[in-house]
């Protein structure tokens, strides 16, 4: 297996692991969004990698651009919800989110 491809795949995997680790490790709502962003970086890399491998880099780039636009809107919505929650709760701690229990 080509060494650069192997390193790219490994790097993507490490970024996803870092994101997931961050997700389960923190109490801070903003850091949860940072974790998701980290995983999305890995996905971006994978998308360009796939285009790089099969020779269809132009198409892969259009995917990445659309994905980035969606990613930004999700980040903005998430930030909006967090700021609103902060106005209600006075902090951004996930342990405060216990109003919904079954």
């Amino acid at each position: 297996m080509n060494i650069v491809s192997a390193i790219i795949l490994t790097a993507a995997l490490l970024m996803i692991i870092a994101g997931m680790f961050c997700l389960v490790r923190t109490y801070n709502l903003i850091r949860i969004i940072i974790a998701i962003e980290l995983a999305m970086k890995a996905i971006t890399l994978l998308l360009v990698f796939s285009g790089w491998v099969n020779g269809n880099l132009a198409l892969a780039q259009t995917f990445v651009i659309t994905m980035i636009v969606l990613e930004v809107i999700v980040a903005v919505v998430a930030a909006g919800i967090i700021v609103s929650l902060y106005r209600k709760n006075g902090n951004v701690d996930i342990r405060e989110l216990t109003n919904l229990k079954g």
């Binding site: 490994t10 970024m15 903003i30 491998v53 099969n54 020779g55 892969a60 659309t66 902090n91």
Partner: protein, 165 residues
């Protein structure tokens, strides 16, 4: 030589990503994320994806960092990132452990098969990119317009109208 730079940038990107996880300060975390994003943009550029690289650099590394920094400053929570490790050591370790194990197994299989991945791409010319975007992906462009509308309404609902209840 180009391959060496790709590998170098990837290593630095993973380090920056790790830093974003480990920093106690939210501000430093956001900035590490921006650095990781910028390094990813460099990797994309070296792989020949010039336009994706520009978007990654300006939007992800720029705009998203601005969003995060404003969120951090609006909530005054720069240093309140308590860490769960101390309370649930076992639970916190499980998911990353599974992922690391699965990833290692996958890489082991990949390295030991006659599975071969070689880059066959040359850097995409602008005309090829333009062709792909405007004459193959109209549905996605329509989707982008709709999602920007959705983002506008989201900002109106979440930021503008905060008076009642």
């Amino acid at each position: 030589m180009q391959q060496f730079f790709i590998v170098l940038c990837l290593v630095l990107m993973v380090l920056a990503g790790g830093a974003a996880v480990m920093f106690r300060s939210m501000l430093k975390s956001s900035i590490s994320l921006a650095v990781a994003s910028a390094l990813l943009a460099a990797v994309l550029f070296l792989m020949g994806a010039y336009w994706a690289s520009i978007f990654e650099l300006s939007v992800c590394s720029g705009l998203i960092t601005v969003v995060f920094v404003s969120a951090v400053s609006l909530t005054n929570t720069d240093r309140c990132s308590e860490v769960r490790v101390r309370e649930h050591k076992a639970r916190v370790a499980v998911l990353p452990a599974i992922l690391i194990f699965a990833g290692a197994a996958l890489l082991f299989i990949l390295f030991n098969s006659d599975f071969n991945i070689v880059a066959s791409a040359t850097p995409a010319s602008f005309s090829a990119f333009k062709e792909a975007l405007w004459s193959l992906r109209q549905a996605d462009i329509l989707g982008q317009i709709i999602v920007i509308l959705a983002g506008t309404f989201a900002v109106i609902v979440l930021f503008k109208e905060r008076d009642n209840i």
